[in-house]
Symmetry: D2
Subunit: 303 residues, 4 copies
């Protein structure tokens, strides 16, 4: 199991069947520095066009369509002292009649304290003078090449992953993506220091990170939507609009998972989910919204 330091020479604003920038073996570790969502690096120099430029693709040996790519998020270290956020709620997350009353969008800068692991607004905002947020790093956008040789904008998401902006996708979490291309072709970027549910100002605190992931192939583990696991929970992710449909995808995927790995037929799974399921909202800003279906591992026995 090798560890690769991956320093991209180019970035991509799509996730798709592009020429690999790195080849790794099954189980290898990759350490790489990501740009922020606007394409700036840790020195605030523009290295790529805005819109979630990705590091990748990383070709994982042995990965073929029908497999799953297991991505363990081993670490995320912030590499810059500033991050930026949108300053106003997105027009699609308030009542349409209230849109006119929203101020114009601007960018706000946050000071990131990399020792204390906190973030504060650089310019004081009335009422938030004391606001100091603990960092809670997460990967906003990552995934594998979608089916059919598609290449899809990093502004959106799908079965292949993409711009999901789900809070739990940080260090300690493992996520599985359905492999659709030879070598899986993994991409990542768009990391956030902090983010509320929904990414409702159109951003988290957007900054640069050094990210460490381990990439492994699970052969013939056919999944439809991304699946994940934290210390406490398992979860599945649906990406679609409206949220209702994202919730349907995530729930259907959980039903499949509970059936294949936890010995619960559809009735048993219904009993369990009906009384213990938790739904988490990922992105409600992008063309596809994200909903996670989550179950505490305390209720489950893996077969």
């Amino acid at each position: 199991m090798a560890t690769h330091r991956f320093a991209p020479t180019g970035y991509h604003n799509v996730i798709g069947s592009l020429s690999p920038a790195l080849h790794v073996a099954d189980g290898d570790i990759v350490v790489t520095e990501t740009l922020d969502a606007a394409g700036h690096d840790k020195d605030n120099i523009q290295r790529a066009p805005r819109g979630n430029p990705m590091n990748g693709p990383i070709f994982v040996e042995g990965a073929e369509p029908g497999d799953s790519l297991k991505v363990e998020i081993l670490g995320m270290v912030p590499t810059r002292d500033t991050g930026f956020t949108g300053s106003v709620l997105a027009s699609n997350v308030v009542d349409p009649r209230d849109v006119r009353g929203l101020p114009e969008r601007a960018n706000a800068i946050w000071r990131i304290d990399r020792e204390a692991l906190t973030a504060r607004l650089l310019e004081p905002v009335a009422g938030l003078e004391d606001l100091t947020l603990p960092l809670s790093p997460m990967i906003g956008c990552f995934g594998v090449a979608p089916s059919l040789g598609q290449a899809i904008s990093t502004a959106t998401s799908g079965e292949f992953g993409g711009n999901m902006d789900y809070r739990l996708l940080g260090p300690g979490t493992t996520i599985w993506f359905p492999v659709s291309a030879h070598g899986a072709l993994f991409f990542l970027g768009d990391c956030h220091a902090v983010q509320g549910d929904g990414e409702i100002v159109g951003t988290g605190i957007e900054t640069t990170f050094e990210v460490t992931v381990r990439l492994s192939v699970e052969k013939n583990r056919m999944i439809v939507w991304p699946r994940g696991e934290t210390a406490d929970d398992i979860f599945t992710i649906g990406n679609a609009r409206p949220l209702d449909q994202a919730l349907q995808h995530a729930t259907s995927e959980m039903l499949r998972w509970l059936g294949s790995d936890y010995g619960l037929d559809k009735t048993a799974a219904s009993h369990l989910l009906g009384q213990v399921v938790r739904y988490d909202v990922g992105n409600v800003f992008d063309p596809a919204y994200t909903m996670a279906c989550r179950v505490s591992k305390s209720w489950l026995k893996r077969r």
Copy 2:
């Protein structure tokens, strides 16, 4: 501040401008026993037609349109040793293509241990032999008479409250409803011993409770959607379909609340919500879905 023991002589399957069954003063406490969602009482005798029969309406003196009715949930004591649940996921919470593969719906019975405060399936289900759920009581359906003299089925919800099925609406929580009728006309019922997010099998563990609430009038506190408070959080509730719209209503209401009571203009509120908001899914089974917008009180200073 009197305490009323309210033993209804009739029940209602709507929330609306009906003849009051009880008059209370501002700040009074009401103790009442609720039927289960199917209309059965603590002795399993059918007392009302199925479909969330309500205790009420309770006329609260001094409540007028433009006020808010504050409902403190002081206690919920289960009064029966059994509860029932639907046995299969609702057809609207899975991928439409997966509906055909779901089993037919039946009712399952749960044994409620009122000493240990736990629930277990009465008939064993493969894979769930050890499942013992701690009770987490909540009120599924409550609210006040809607505007215009409307009377609306307890199968759904709206600005006035109704069948929201939100997990946090249990003991220790306070909720405010917008008053639209003289005396507010408060109803409650449909209590659950346990329920996952979304009420995705169409029920929580449906059983009977003795519920204790305090009802107070907040004069001229004009709100549009229900607001609530727990020990840790404040939240607002939107009821609509799709979930996207419920989320919009809840977010707009939170924006109003942060502005009026916490000194945050729309930019400040956007900064805060963008990085700390939590969304919780209530009902995704009924005609109107429910979404809560929740903020930790640790970030807020009430003016």
Copy 3:
């Protein structure tokens, strides 16, 4: 078959189980003058609060739950020389990002020529100097008391009908509503001289009419959603949000109708609908949207 001239002494902003204002026999004709959506009569005098005040309820003898009420729209004669419209697209029918660019809403007045049966804007608008619209009268809001004794705002719609704002609901059209209350309890009002699909400025040309309808009971004709018939077509109506769900309701109802009355099982109905169905958009302004599923009678043979 009697003809009743119905001159209401009061109006209602809900459709529900209220005290009948008129009793008619099965098959009787009713002639009545409606207020405009803002509650003004033909002399522009405010007679009722704004929000689609209804004439009714009309108790139809013999109508019981499980029956259908057949409403033949025999005539609509405009009774005023003016109508009003909203002046700007509703904020929910444009991209949320475009809402800020819309002007503020105002009312515009239209001159109705009751001889020529046309309408023109009273104040000239640049680019529309020559716009003369032929009248195409329709009933915006009508229906029967909903189930469970509910009373529902005339701002919205449901299985019982309500504020559907569907262009084809004018003279020559017949519509059936599912009866849920003793006597059906029929209401009507909110008539439009002209209206585009969707009622996307929040109004049609809102004015007053003398409306003539025949009300008949079809015993034991159990329907779920409104059904209709014009000279050329049959149609079903779904009312819900999002439009996707309204379309589902309307399609399911058409499937039932083709099965029971036209001898088409679900496969045959699918073949036919798949290649000839037309969908029409009713209201996309109100809490529930309206979609009609329409089939040309040229493809159908009634059994």
Copy 4:
């Protein structure tokens, strides 16, 4: 203005920035034979994988990002005596509770009479023995390479066009696509002999055609969504889920068009659209649904 007979040597199941298969000059005519949606040619031989294989891409000289590609559909001649359809309504177009009652999907074959220009089911279906449908050819899927070098499955649609399945996209219609790539890179395929609104059985009558189009570049005509024109109407197209959002996109695009080309500011456009707009439903089967916003040219004066 040359005419090119384009006989593809390969087909694509995505629309994107692929290597051009043909170069044409601005204003040239292309004649090409399309496969059916399942990849079969006029001799029923499989030539490409199923899923709307496309002819293309066609590089149009002079087309650059910021331009529009004008596509005039000059002719569509059916080239096979059979077409196929799905035999049952898609599970997403009926009430979720009705899905279980639908039969299993199969393919049905239709006999196409290329002299009479009609289609009939090959195997008799009870109740449809006399059903003979006049052909109404249309292009189900066409468009130009999307932005950012994306390549997107022909199962869906977006600003760039794609699988819109809108009935009016047949001979005599002109459509404009927003150019995002050097040379526009035009694709077409998936033609239907007949199709109802919504493509609600998942297909029209899928068969092969010889299609003739003229491709022209309109320099610096920046559009966001496809626009079209028939003999009688102009229309704009939105592609998204839910239908509500597709309707928003189409309406916003029509507002832009009426402003730039017809001298109507937002108030004037609102007045006109409010009373005369028509909405047509394209695809409600695919990941993105399609809604057209249509206005009769009789109301418009081009500047």
